[in-house]
């Protein structure tokens, strides 16, 4: 039985709220991370507009697997220099996506700091990446993908599929 993604979003927002600097910016990673970031942005009432990253251009497996066929434009609609940034993703696994996201953010400027908030930490890290906030940790066997899906009505759910 997988946890309820909507509840996890609420829990994640609650854990971010205390002591959040008012000029903080959220940056969601396409596609699931953007959905979660949209939830957090509304729940936290942040003034800074939401950023969105497609890390395809920074992935470390480009020379092996090439470009993803449907790349979205990254959009960072705020000044990055000296700003506290929170990267938001749905599922944290190897940490390679987060490495790519950090590299991309630094091409926009030098943030004051970067934190990481995720719905699920499924373990299996291959890089020294640790989330500051994870709504839940969950053991998922290697070879299976845990992914966030959004229904037509906009409802978020988690699903386990064979990789």
């Amino acid at each position: 039985m997988l946890p309820d993604a909507e509840r996890l979003c609420v829990a994640l927002a609650d854990s971010l709220r205390p002591g959040l600097p008012p000029d903080s910016a959220l940056v969601g990673i396409h596609t699931g991370g953007v959905w979660v970031a949209e939830r957090l942005h509304a729940a936290l009432g942040l003034k800074t507009p939401l950023g969105r990253l497609d890390v395809s251009f920074y992935r470390d497996d480009f020379s092996r697997s090439g470009l993803h066929p449907q790349i979205k434009s990254s959009d960072i609609p705020f000044e990055v220099n000296d700003r506290p940034i929170i990267i938001v993703d749905d599922v944290l696994y190897t940490g390679r996506t987060i490495r790519a996201a950090m590299n991309e953010i630094f091409d926009y400027g030098r943030p004051a700091r970067i934190d990481l908030a995720v719905l699920i930490d499924r373990g299996g890290r291959e890089l020294p990446v640790c989330p500051r906030w994870a709504a839940q940790t969950l053991q998922v066997e290697p070879g299976r993908n845990l992914q966030l899906e959004r229904s037509e009505a906009g409802l978020l759910t988690l699903r386990l599929i064979d990789a």
Partner: protein, 319 residues
């Protein structure tokens, strides 16, 4: 036989011509170019995709815009770019094209961007690389003779899609020296593959290939009739350097009948866009008032060209 531009998985191996490429690949290139165009807005205008790769610009024919935008595209992808000025190099000492290529392969080339006065030269290089088992080296045609200039055709399609959103229901006119133009050939193949319902070519009989209608275009010799209600006007450069014999009485007379003036442009739709691949001959194929006027999207074409070339290079390098 497999399309020599595609690898065994159906992905792009080389970009030699638009002729024969499926619509899905053209659309993927245009879709992929869009996020690359955003990179120009960043503090660091660089992506790591081609880091450590060597891109050789092999220009056997002079070019400023194309060579420069290829160079910028490769550099924004973090590649090392080596520009070979062929007129002062070994070729002028008698080295053959393929010997030049072999030598550059021995210098660990990863990609060749080739412009050559002879149609088919980039294809010859691609074929040679395959015969040598060097399938990891990619070739991009940056204009070969009268044959093709595929990245120009693609950046033109990107420009049209940017301003017109879709290719369905468009009427597009290509105007001028179609006979000598590799750009026109690439444009025609791309427009038809992407589903533009009406493609016209406009020019004097001496500068329109006799069987061009077999490609699915309508031929007009009267410019006003040809421009009637068009959405997109694609001007071509009058290729003085390729003219042999008396194809034209004079540039002045060409301008009178086929030069794009504000007056002739009034035959097109009020929201028509005017494109030109450059370099422009002002007062020959296009009047300054139009080239600098509100319908012209000639400078955005140049900017979009960088993103399109970044997309093509990345798709090739990524297999």
């Amino acid at each position: 036989m497999r399309n020599p531009q595609l690898n065994k998985n159906g992905g792009l191996q080389h970009l030699l011509t638009i002729d024969g490429l499926p619509r899905e690949i053209l659309s993927t290139i245009l879709d992929t170019a869009a996020p690359f165009s955003e990179v120009a807005e960043r503090e660091v205008k660089k992506l790591p995709l081609l880091r450590g790769k060597s891109v050789f610009n092999l220009f056997f024919e002079s070019s400023t815009r194309t060579r420069t935008t290829f160079e910028i595209a490769a550099k924004r992808l973090s590649a090392d770019v080596i520009n070979l000025n062929i007129s002062t190099s070994s070729t002028s000492k008698g080295e053959t094209l393929l010997d030049t290529v072999d030598n550059l392969c021995a210098m660990q080339a990863d990609m060749f961007v080739v412009r050559h006065a002879s149609s088919g030269a980039p294809f010859l290089i691609a074929q040679h690389l395959a015969a040598m088992g060097l399938e990891h080296i990619h070739v991009i045609n940056a204009g070969d003779g009268r044959h093709a200039h595929p990245t120009q055709g693609l950046l033109d399609m990107y420009t049209i899609r940017h301003y017109k959103k879709t290719f369905a229901n468009l009427v597009v006119a290509i105007v001028g020296d179609v006979l000598h133009s590799r750009v026109a050939r690439s444009q025609i193949h791309a427009l038809i593959t992407l589903g533009v319902p009406e493609v016209r070519v406009i020019g004097p009989k001496t500068l329109i290939p006799t069987d061009v209608d077999k490609l699915g275009v309508r031929v007009f010799h009267d410019m006003r009739a040809g421009l009637k209600d068009v959405d997109v006007v694609m001007m071509l450069r009058l290729q003085n350097e390729r003219m042999q014999g008396a194809l034209l009485p004079s540039p002045q007379e060409f301008f009178k009948y086929y030069g794009l003036t504000a007056d002739k442009l009034e035959c097109a739709r009020p929201d028509a866009i005017v494109m030109h691949p450059g370099p422009m001959n002002r007062g020959v194929e296009i009047d300054s008032a139009v080239a600098d006027g509100p319908h012209a999207v000639i400078l955005p074409q140049v900017t979009f060209g960088i993103a399109v070339r970044m997309a093509v290079m990345s798709m090739l390098a990524g297999g």
